[in-house]
């Protein structure tokens, strides 16, 4: 290999059978996780930090396992997911409706525009105590908080998607005699769906985070509540277990969303895929 003089030289990829390559790639993706786990275990066992500051990875795993057996894990996870997903669902439907409304009716646009643009960069989590005041400390206030936070990216995604619809597409459709409703459902929304989908993909992790934070503040059951409880009892294993659990849930949700996107937008991807020539 020649000495580099400021430019990285290209490497020749190996030509191997497809299946082996894919297997290696999957293993490659797991490698950093495995390495991280090993490093965690090593660091914790080395004695440079106290078991309180960094419990061993194996201890945390054991803790997750015991929680799972005791059904606590399932309960907490289910509750948090319930709040996050219900909130997300409402935010999705309402957000798309509002986005469509704002795109179509100038008055609605004028009315809601400042609210959306001012509200977007606000830390809406500051309204959590207000929600508690109005809606109590059970599911309703948590779900409401999730909706408040998650709705914004859906609205902006919908507006952007609709704004980007090819005008000629609309004209052709109307020319053929499609009604406004048909145009909306069969042309506008499908054409806008990539960006709407992106908005939803941004909103989902937000929904999870807000649900967790709301639980942390209000206590009770749920992954957030359990974590805050653990920290009050200086139960560091419980706290780390919580981080791992939430991380896994978050990861699963994001991957699921990506899968949904691929399925729903398969036509979009093919339109974007390079030709095989």
């Amino acid at each position: 290999m020649a000495r580099l003089t400021g430019i990285r030289s290209e490497t020749v990829p190996a030509t191997q059978p497809d299946a082996i390559l894919r297997g290696l790639a999957a293993a490659g993706r797991l490698a950093p996780i495995v390495l991280l786990a090993l490093a965690w275990e090593a660091l914790a066992a080395s004695g440079t930090v106290t078991p309180f500051q960094l419990p061993r990875f194996s201890a945390v795993l054991t803790r997750i396992w015991t929680d799972a057996i005791a059904d606590d894990l399932a309960l907490n996870t289910a509750l948090t997911l319930y709040r996050a997903l219900v909130g997300f669902g409402i935010a999705a439907v309402a957000g798309i409706l509002i986005g469509v409304g704002m795109s179509r009716y100038g008055v609605v646009r004028w009315l809601l525009d400042p609210i959306v643009s001012v509200g977007f960069p606000m830390p809406k989590i500051a309204f959590l105590p207000v929600m508690m005041l109005w809606l109590g400390v059970y599911d309703l206030s948590k779900i409401a908080m999730v909706v408040l936070d998650a709705i914004f990216p859906v609205i902006t995604g919908t507006i952007a998607g609709i704004a980007g619809v090819d005008r000629q597409l609309l004209w052709s459709a109307r020319n053929i005699g499609a009604t406004e409703r048909e145009v909306l459902w069969q042309i506008v929304l499908p054409a806008a769906s990539p960006q709407i989908m992106t908005g939803l993909q941004v909103a989902l992790p937000i929904a999870l985070i807000v649900a967790v934070v709301a639980e942390m503040l209000m206590g009770g059951y749920g992954l957030g509540g359990a974590m805050v409880q653990a920290s009050r009892f200086a139960d560091s294993r419980g706290v780390f277990a919580g981080i791992v659990e939430i991380a896994v849930v978050g990861y699963v949700l994001v991957k699921a969303m990506a899968l949904v996107r691929r399925r729903l937008l398969i036509w979009h991807q093919e339109a974007e895929a390079p030709s095989t020539l």
Binding site: A2, R3, L4, T5, G6, I7, S9, E10, T11, V12, P13
Partner: protein, 275 residues
């Protein structure tokens, strides 16, 4: 025909740059490696204007980048004044087709860059920068950003920037390719004017035969990939003559060289369709 074909004669002791037996393998991120240059040998004389001419993909830019030290010479050797090339440096200035100006710097900022690297004092730098900005005709635009300039103005800035550090060799990679036809002709005349005032070795890559014949002392015609030097033509025309491009000698030269290039262009097309 107004030009004379000369034989390769490596080992000519008057040369500034000696390229010998250079091969270059291009390794794309996906797919198999390609031989871009095969056994290229060439000599460049001091202060001559040499054009590298050939069809797309013949490796002329690659050869330029090797001389510039941006790509490592893996097989063969490139010597500048007897010493081997080991990386880019201010002795070989380069001008790119798409200007490569630092978009976050003004015209003055761009021209000052190389001067700062040279370690010149502040007053000296400012004076020199202004001199070269004036030389390329951009007086008054010192504080403009590249995004505010036209293509021709951007290229003038790029040329000023490179000339300001007074490199031994000027490498130009199809510098007028991104400009419209009128600007291109204008820039060609201006480049000639600048070059004649302060002669430097120029290695000029182009696929435009007319441009090559107009500007160069010698034209090295390259083959289709893998590129090698097909022929070197001596252009014995008077570049100072403003009507030269209409003279019979000029037209005949262009014609003859175009014949050489066309063969290679056809080969290059054929290769593309079948690969």
């Amino acid at each position: 025909m107004g030009g004379r074909v000369e034989e390769h004669n490596p080992g000519n002791s008057g040369s500034q740059i000696v390229i010998e037996g250079v091969n270059h393998l291009y390794r794309p991120p996906k797919g198999r490696p390609l031989l871009a240059l095969e056994n290229v040998s060439l000599e460049v004389r001091p202060r001559e204007f040499l054009a590298l001419l050939g069809p797309s993909g013949c490796g002329k830019s690659t050869l330029l980048y090797l001389i510039g030290g941006f790509l490592p010479t893996e097989r063969g050797s490139i010597l500048l004044d007897g010493a081997s090339i080991s990386g880019p440096g201010p002795d070989r200035g380069i001008v790119f087709q798409h200007f490569a100006l630092f978009p976050w710097k003004t015209v003055r900022g761009n021209v000052l860059y190389g001067l700062k690297k040279m370690g010149l004092g502040r007053d000296e730098r400012e004076k020199r920068a202004q001199a070269f900005i004036d030389l390329v005709g951009l007086t008054g635009f010192e504080d403009s950003y590249p995004s505010q300039l036209s293509g021709g103005m951007k290229q003038r800035t790029a040329i000023a920037r490179t000339l300001a550090i007074d490199p031994k060799i000027l490498l130009m990679d199809e510098p007028f390719g991104a400009l419209d036809a009128q600007t291109r002709h204008l820039m060609q005349s201006e480049l000639l004017g600048i070059w004649r005032r302060s002669p430097k070795t120029v290695i000029f890559v182009t696929h435009d035969v007319q441009e090559a014949v107009h500007l160069a002392d010698r034209v090295a015609v390259m083959t289709a990939r893998p590129g090698r030097i097909k022929t070197i033509v001596n252009i014995g025309l008077d570049k100072g003559d403003p009507g030269i491009t209409k003279s019979k000698a000029f037209i005949d030269t262009v014609d003859a060289i175009w014949g050489l290039v066309r063969e290679e262009a056809i080969k290059a097309q054929g290769a593309r369709v079948s690969s």
